[in-house]
Amino acid sequence: MKSLDSILRELPFFAGLDEEHARLVGGCARNCRFEPGQYLFHEGDPADEFFLIREGKVALDVVVPGQEPVVFSTLGEDEVVGASWLVPPYHWKFDARATSLTRALGIDAACLRRKCEEDHDFGYLMMKRFLPVFVKRLHTTRLQMFDVYRKR
């Protein structure tokens, strides 16, 4: 069986990570599996573990009173689920639900935060990988807000 470190380095998201750093991340990671309909986390829960999807699909939704939950984004292979683990108070702001059989790498947020804090070089490398994901997500959210296909 492959070790988590080597699985990790095969993921495009962590491509090019050196052995030492892969070991650091791998030490915080575990394999997870979610059945269709199963929640990865709920709004308000502590953001103690985030996920990197290896296969499957995850829908992010928010609950609107009197309505079905509104899905505002879906994520797939090699995408990161969750950003709130990076910023205090480390609580999820939405629900994440698997819409098909999903296999993911779960990463212990507190563990990774601690390692980043202990080794700022490593922390900086992690930030360089996560920040572009979140900035891009902000940009696409803006495009979504423009509602470009609406009738004017």
């Binding site: 079905e68 899905v71 797939g76 509602d147």
Partner: protein
Amino acid sequence: MTVPRHSALVPALYRVGEVYRELPDTVTLRLVPESGRRPPYTPGQFNMLYAFGVGEIALSISGEGAEESFLHTVREVGAVSTALARLGVGARVGVRGPFGTGWPAVQDTDVIFVAGGLGLAPLRPAIRRVLAGRGHYGRVAILFGTRHPAEMLYLQELEHWRQRLDVDVSVTVDHADALWHGNVGVVPALIARTTFDPNRSVAMVCGPEVMMRFAVGALREAGVPDERIYLSMERNMKCAVGLCGHCQFGPEFICLTGPVMRFDRIASLFSTREI
């Protein structure tokens, strides 16, 4: 005395052969030439459609049909489009065209179609052309984004494409309800999730300009060179023959050098405000 004159400014008569209801406010008209002969066209070109006494608008050709006809998908947004969308079978319309440039005819490359909303209409004839000669291309991907699952154009045809094993079809919506099990998000995000060889690909993009800006960004990020990206531009088209000046985009007349334009040729204009 008045005599009929054949000129690019005078419409030819067409008859509505069929009306297909696409969405509550959108139909596809099958327009049959009264002359019995439809002029040749290239996917991506447009016609000027005239509703008797109401006016004329530019509409891209969304395909061809039986009886040498043109297909045009019309959404009710203004007086003319509303008049056209409400025509019945047998009604006559004026048609001038086809005008403008078409999508590039390429071979032996990967082809990525990126469509947003009604932007799927001008791409449909190009998609049909590629699928008809599927063996001549590498990977083929159709990435389509729309507002809501209930506003999905050409639903049946999309489903038909999706069932083919040799085409990668990805659909995404901006807003969804719980009944939707597909992607939620914007169409440029699908580009990063699609497998293709950026240096051997041609991308054809059509949709609202803001969506195209984001799509171009995602294509460039994926490594597609500017000269392999094609966009269909929209400007105010009145005469369609480069004589009225309305459709200018910097030095370009969109009706002559567009609507389909290679991105590297307009890159500097694309980022200039109010050009």
